[in-house]
Symmetry: C2
Subunit: 680 residues, 2 copies
């Protein structure tokens, strides 16, 4: 197929082929101007992309936020110029000057597509596999919302998720995980085009990727069409149509393409993948494809042909608007809620039940258990909350009671079962968030945040709201041992921009943390929660139960033992109790001690200089931080003269209490460190 | 099959079944004593485990380090008691008291198997999917070594890699990646038993895992046998034998088991998975399986039956020893090298070519390019160096020249092609390292260390030597933009215990870093390398080219401008040049400045207090750190009175130079920060 395809004439003189060639040369020219980028995939993939966008994709270039638009994901984000060319030609707010400034600082056409920066870019892609899994999340969101909002005669949510995916995407485990999940869940509105070009960066894909992709996807429960030739426009269209016709299984259309198509010396070679073709080769390519226009030149007939998307898009959205108006008349409450949910606004009183929980925990309780209660309280008032766990729901306390499991047979279920697929879960949840209309959450043990870090990072970069429920947050989890005991995770997650990590110290802090997580519309929030029970801080001498305001400022004075402090003890999560215990001992010796609970570095660092100084006065240098995570990094708050009661290496298997004592997480040890810092 | 299996009598009175039951009850009793652990998998998996160990596994319990032993991996590490029971009964140095102290602090029977802690545990497992991929690495190592060392009539390396893998393992992307690679590479000496119990923690596997596993593995190029019943000893044996008979493809034997087999109320249920059965249920289980012995009691006939492994193992190793002696006579050099390689010892003069490179780079050069040269120099003298990249070999400079690609058709190739599978690469390399005889390395962009962090962590915990070649180590990589620009990675990797991260500042530091990486036998070493060219520090005023000693101490004084310093500028990697540039400007104003190059925090922190004080005197508090990574964390060395020239958020797409300037990585900005710290 590929050989035949290479011999075919992947060009022509009609408007379709001229548009395809315009996409190809905008891409090639932009890469050349930047002297950086990836021309090979746009040259090979332009025909399938254009068939999809021209004949199938339902979108409105003038309103990229239209609720019921089809979603399109370019999973091989390095082919960004393919997407930018499509956006430009079909009338999105992306000018030829934007195209000319490809990969330049400050442009709207960065090296890889970035959500929020470029109109029409649904998700940030580039790290391979993420986009594939994001699309699964989008299709999942569509199915959830369709089930939630559609009513007989009112199919108000009814769109597809399309993607172009590459060999590299299919090699990545995150895509494998998402593919298996999509098959299990029967997400029939997925249609992915597989850009099967048989070339990887290191050479022929046979070097590392000899599997039978079609058979693998069928095994996952997918419908597979093709292979069809990369220039076989009708074959591609038939493949896509077959995917649309198949409604109970996700579809993969295998398209045999030629990387760098049209380039006489680089077509079919890895050399066309990741660098500009060069002026000479571009000239030869222009000749080979009979493209007589200059760099960045788009002939008028192509503009007219591609620009028809604007009129079509306006008509489509207008038609939908009419249907939505009828829906709003028939189902005003649903219409209002859908509008609110798509905007990400919170309904009045959403936190009434949650707030009522504050102060209600008087016995020691694990923060993971409080989190479970908080989840119920929120879910009761905020139906768009949806999520699940990577097969640890019982341990993560992530099940919403009484709402069933989301399954092919029960699309009304609100509990997702991701299986033991943390990375896939992360990227699927990012896709759900990007789709809009839902606030997704995902749970696993904190240690396995490592497995999903690739997805957490892209979500943070993309400012996608989501709640990560990471339980078993320290060596205090006990017997499972060092493979399961997070040590480096708390601190290393603090290094990740855009992620708000909150490690609550008791029930009230946990309730506040959930409130903040739901209200955070500018990125993901991670909750680090204990397996073991923690006493309410007020019972240990804290001045009052933590308010959402306290936690929202990231750190607050839990109590001053005495007046202006000689010593500050800073704790987080399960170790704040040790700080309070140590403080009361030291206070008995007339040492003036302040205990600071610091559930979130990010939130504290975002406060005013004045507030930060009020909590941690620069003049007080006798400081001890207490946290059952790696010590390194705490110097940010304790400086060169302070000390840390923390971990210096991996944990150990044993009962939680024994392990905590073994590693020095005791009141006595905090007191001893404090003394040494004070020089007493 | 499973239904039939559940009805079968998975027990009996002969020695085999009594041994299987002994394994089951040792496991159940240990979990019960610990009040913590996983009884379900040992109850269901004991028959297949025993068939494998009794009839097939070639090992010597009295010498777990025997070179040519078969490797066994328990990928579902939570079933640790299954493995501990096998080790105890077959005569490894693991006593009944060790079994009794399961999951207790300081025991040799931790919650999940840990390499190095328990004799006979090949790899640390628990984080699912890792063991599966480790086994692929072991089989790959076997194939490489067999090709390297075997000679006609001397099959000195000839063993298999067995594993038990669970649903959870097969759901994880890291296992998918490794499975596809194993199929591609035709690793025919893999035989894995799939413990297909249809139960996940959240319930029936149908909740999240409806794929056709057999079809999926066939698509990867595996041979698949079964399903056979979990108590069908002959069927299991036939499946394993079929796997052994198949020599060109890895084999998966599907075994339909019943989790918690024998437990009247918990068999087949998730409730038997992760907590003790309880005294009452254990009594009922004893009755159901006609096991009349008390807790931890092993009847003598079982000890005799299982203990036969000691005699058999000694005979097998002795037979091999004889063959090895003959080999040593016929091929003395090879025999010597194999012995040396398996011991991890370095041959005399291994670094001669490498050392010769030092000082030879007089023009600016990217540290990734120097790394490529260093790799050639080492490979020429150290044949056991082997590795590759996750499809970025050209960018990572990880190809060994003239040694070809390792492929099914060319097992003598020394360059591995992992495909775009970072996590799989990490875990496969850990497995190669655990096998022994090779020093593996793996390359990708630093940003994608996130994708493989799960594997890097297990490698660090297991103290497995490996070299991670992570290039494109900062926003300085330029146009690829924030999806590809590491920001948080450098600092977050420093939080990971057991990993030595080195970020060299020029060619000489890079050469030294490689020397240290090869010599590090107690864990992985990561090299963070630039895409962009860096000038030799000596050309910028450094006193001398860095020696291996300098880099080995983690940080050293690159130059004192003036006498006892008023100010210390600390740089790493590509930013040391900025520190030197700023220092010479400040020195012109008679400010006494010290420039410290700090390629490795871990190595520096391991130095004596005296050395550290000599580099960073406590009395000098005017300190500025310069690193193109996240600022947070540098307070460890600059304290509360210093400053950091670093990143505060994500990067941006643009030319490397423009991006660096945009984020303040300029001599002028370093000078300005220094002035502010000095209060001038």
């Amino acid at each position: 197929m590929t050989t035949a395809d290479r011999l075919s004439t992947g060009t022509g003189t009609d408007a379709t082929w001229r548009t395809i060639n315009a996409i190809r040369f905008l891409s090639v020219d932009a890469v050349q101007a930047a002297r950086s980028g990836h021309p090979g995939a746009p040259l090979g993939g332009a025909p399938m992309a254009w068939v999809l966008w021209d004949r199938f994709l339902r979108h409105n270039p003038k309103n990229p936020a239209w609720t019921d638009r089809d979603r399109f994901v370019l999973s091989n984000g390095h082919a960004s110029m393919l997407l930018y060319s499509l956006l430009h030609l079909t009338g999105y707010d992306l000018s030829i000057d934007d195209i000319r400034s490809f990969r330049q600082l400050g442009s709207r056409t960065p090296g890889h597509p970035e959500r929020g920066l470029t109109p029409g870019v649904e998700v940030t892609t580039g790290p391979l596999g993420q986009g594939f899994a994001n699309g699964v999340g989008m299709a999942l969101a569509e199915k959830v919302l369709a089930n939630e909002f559609n009513r007989p005669g009112h199919e108000i949510i009814d769109h597809h998720t399309f993607a172009i995916v590459s060999d590299g995407d299919l090699e990545e485990g995150v895509a494998s995980e998402a593919a298996s999940l999509a098959g299990t869940l029967g997400l029939g509105k997925i249609v992915y085009l597989y850009d099967d070009n048989e070339i990887s960066i290191e050479g022929d894909t046979d070097l590392a990727f000899r599997e039978d992709v079609a058979a693998r996807f069928r095994a996952y429960g997918w419908h597979v069409a093709g292979p069809v030739g990369g220039n076989d426009l009708e074959g591609i269209a038939a493949g896509i149509q077959a995917g649309l016709d198949e409604t109970s299984r996700p579809s993969l259309v295998i398209v045999s393409t030629t990387i760098g198509y049209g380039s006489p010396n680089k077509a079919g070679k890895a050399s066309s993948h990741g660098e500009a073709l060069g002026e000479d080769e571009i000239s030869l390519t222009r000749k080979a494809l009979s493209w007589e226009y200059g760099p960045f030149e788009v002939p008028e007939d192509v503009r007219t042909n591609a620009g028809a998307a604007v009129v079509r898009g306006a008509e489509r959205e207008s038609e939908w608007d009419g249907r939505f108006d009828a829906y709003a008349v028939a189902h005003p409450e649903l219409a209002k809620r859908l509008t609110q949910d798509m905007a990400g606004d919170l309904p009045d009183g959403w936190d009434a039940d949650l707030s009522a929980l504050a102060g209600s925990f008087t016995d020691p309780v694990a923060t993971r258990a409080v989190s479970g209660k908080a989840l119920q309280a929120i879910a009761a008032k905020l139906p768009r909350l949806i999520g699940g766990s990577a097969d640890l729901a019982g341990s993560n306390n992530t099940m919403i009671s009484g709402r069933g499991s989301f399954q092919p047979e029960s699309p009304d279920g609100r509990n997702l079962h991701f299986g033991v697929r943390e990375h896939g879960m992360g990227a699927v949840i990012n896709g759900m968030s990007a789709h809009g209309g839902l606030l997704p959450y995902g749970g696993t043990f904190l240690i396995f945040s490592d497995y999903m870090r690739g997805a957490v990072r892209v979500g943070a970069l993309s400012e996608l709201p989501a709640v990560w429920v990471w339980t078993h947050d320290s060596v205090g989890l006990g017997e499972d041992g060092p493979t399961h005991q997070p040590v480096d995770q708390l601190m290393s997650l603090r290094m990740l921009p855009g992620l708000t990590l909150i490690r609550p110290a008791d029930a009230d802090e946990t309730i506040a943390a959930w409130k903040l997580a739901v209200e955070n519309r500018h990125g993901p929030t991670a909750l680090a929660l204990t397996r073991q029970a923690l006493p309410p801080l007020v019972l240990l001498g804290a001045t009052a139960g933590a308010s959402a305001g306290d936690v929202g400022r990231g750190a607050y004075v839990a109590r001053d033992f005495g007046g202006a402090p000689d010593l500050i003890l800073i704790g987080t999560g399960s170790e704040v109790q040790l700080a309070l215990g140590a403080a009361s001992k030291l206070a008995a010796e007339n040492i003036k001690v302040r205990v600071v609970s610091m559930p979130s570095w990010e939130l504290f660092d975002a406060q005013s200089e004045e507030y930060r100084e009020s909590v941690l006065p620069r003049s007080v240098r006798a400081r001890v931080a207490v946290e059952a995570g790696i010590s390194t990094g705490w110097e940010r708050y304790v400086g060169l003269d302070g000390a840390v009661v923390g971990m210096e290496g991996f944990g150990a298997s044993g009962s939680g209490g024994a392990v905590m004592r073994h590693f020095g997480f005791t009141v006595e040890n905090v007191v001893a460190k404090a003394r040494s810092v004070l020089g007493r």
